[in-house]
């Protein structure tokens, strides 16, 4: 077993436990690490060794990931011993600003429910015209400006950033500040001190913003939560700042990466790009979004949990206190669920993917991400039909060190 794994890129220790995470193969930036696929072929769950020497379970298959993520015997509480943090820096961040994604019910449900209504399908659908205007204006600006241009800075980042700022009531004029600090937050190789500084700067910023909203409420989510929850003593101003930071960071980093990496993937699959460009069928575009979510699986650092009780699954026993890591990117290539899983096919029904996770912590902002991506994928390639890479693909810098996968830059021309 160890030889086999070593051959596929994961250095195995003498005890046969492979190191995690594993590197992607050179030249295959859209595919999960080869060693992850080999582990999936071997067993639905295996022990891996992580940065701090601990040996949590790695769950590789779709069925077991869904079962475990929906299992009440599994905890997302980041303060529990055994919780498998991504890195020392990530642990620093998660403990310093413990949002509801790092809690269990009933605290999790109480806090999540306060912010669920704005992300309901109908509410998000009502934002579609405004999102379309933002996308059209950014494309106008891009077409009027010099080329080549970095699609990340000119388009992929501003789209979700403008949308989440509007929704929360964060001044977009401050985007240099919060995007710079967010970049630190989503990098898994930061020293803990740098992480602490970035987290404190963002929390301080959001606490000041919350105070301002309480003094002068406006028609935005931070004001609404300030008035309805903080003033009534249901939520502290600090808790609101932490929730605001979660929504701000999650609201732009993830979608931005899907836009830029998705565009690169489509440029590399011209037949798929042509199918998208040729249609105005909202169903096909919505299906393409699901397929790109599945195929790219940008949350590539694993959904992390710790077992509260012994759990028998996949022929193994996860013991109480064991860390558990769900590698979504490899479950989304599980051939038991998706036919010819390594093929990007915008016509397939990919809705069963776990790109947003599963269970009670499944992504709150998914309806917003879907509408943003539908508008972007349905507009950009039609309006810029000659869009192409302005550099060789091997010069594109990928976020191998990112908590969320994507590209740092995407120089394009047309």
């Amino acid at each position: 077993m160890s030889l086999h794994i070593a051959d596929s890129g994961a250095p195995a220790q003498p005890d046969g436990i492979p190191d995690y995470p594993m590197p992607r193969a050179a030249g295959c930036p859209f595919d999960p690490a080869p060693a992850l696929r080999d582990l999936r072929a071997e067993a639905p769950l295996v022990k891996v060794r992580t940065w701090d020497g601990s040996t949590p379970w790695l769950v590789t298959r779709h069925a077991e990931q869904r079962a475990l993520l929906a299992d009440r015997r599994i905890s997302a509480d980041v303060t529990r011993p055994g919780y498998p943090h991504v890195t020392a820096a990530s642990r620093e961040r998660r403990l310093r600003t413990r949002a509801f994604i790092g809690m269990d019910d009933p605290e999790h449900a109480r806090l999540r429910r306060m912010v669920t209504a704005p992300f309901a399908i109908k509410r998000v659908e009502a934002l579609r015209p405004a999102i379309q205007r933002i996308v059209d204006r950014l494309i106008d600006d891009m077409l009027a400006g010099p080329k080549p241009v970095d699609l990340v800075q000119a388009f992929a980042l501003p789209v979700p950033s403008l949308v989440i700022c509007e929704l929360l009531g964060v001044p977009y004029a401050d985007h240099d500040f919060f995007q710079r600090n967010t970049r630190v937050l989503v990098n898994r190789d930061q020293p803990p001190e740098a992480m602490r500084e970035a987290v404190d700067a963002l929390i301080d910023y959001l606490e000041r913003l919350v105070a301002e909203k309480l003094a002068h409420p406006a028609a935005d989510l931070l004001s609404k939560l300030g008035v309805e929850q903080v003033r009534r003593g249901e939520l502290t101003a600090h808790e609101l700042a932490v929730t605001g930071m979660l929504l701000l960071v999650a609201g732009h980093e993830t979608t931005a990466n899907m836009i830029a990496l998705g565009t690169l993937a489509l440029l590399e699959h011209p037949d798929q790009l042509a199918a998208l460009r040729a249609t105005d069928d909202p169903k096909l575009i919505a299906g393409a979004v699901e397929e790109l979510l599945r195929y790219l699986s940008i949350v590539h650092s694993g959904r992390r949990r710790v077992a509260l009780e012994d759990i028998e699954i996949g022929g193994r026993v996860i013991h109480a206190g064991d860390g558990v890591i769900m590698a979504n990117e490899v479950a989304n290539r599980d051939e038991d669920v998706f036919t010819d899983p390594d093929r990007l096919d915008v016509h397939r029904d990919a809705r069963g993917h776990v790109a947003f996770g599963f269970g009670v912590h499944q992504c709150l902002g998914q309806p917003l991400a879907r509408v943003e991506l539908q508008v972007v994928y349905g507009t950009l390639y039609r309006r810029v039909p000659g869009l192409r890479l302005a550099v060789d693909r091997d010069q594109v810098p990928f976020k191998h060190d990112g908590l969320i996968y994507g590209v740092y830059e995407l120089p394009v021309t047309w």
């Binding site: 999540r112 669920t116 209504a117 992300f119 109908k122 069963g352 269970g359 709150l364």
Partner: protein, 65 residues
Amino acid sequence: MRVSVDREKCVGSGQCVLSAAGVFDQSDEDGIVVLLDESPPADVHMDVRRAASLCPALAITVTES
């Protein structure tokens, strides 16, 4: 087919509304599921089964008659 929902379990992911909009909705107040039709017509049964399988909180129960 009989459908029931557990509003305590629901996390408002909206998967059910996307799958079967005539059967499921979300409350304006808290985003939690609202069941519109507890015995939906045959032409949407596939969509309802899909909604139940996609629900991340396992909050939808479908009983086939």
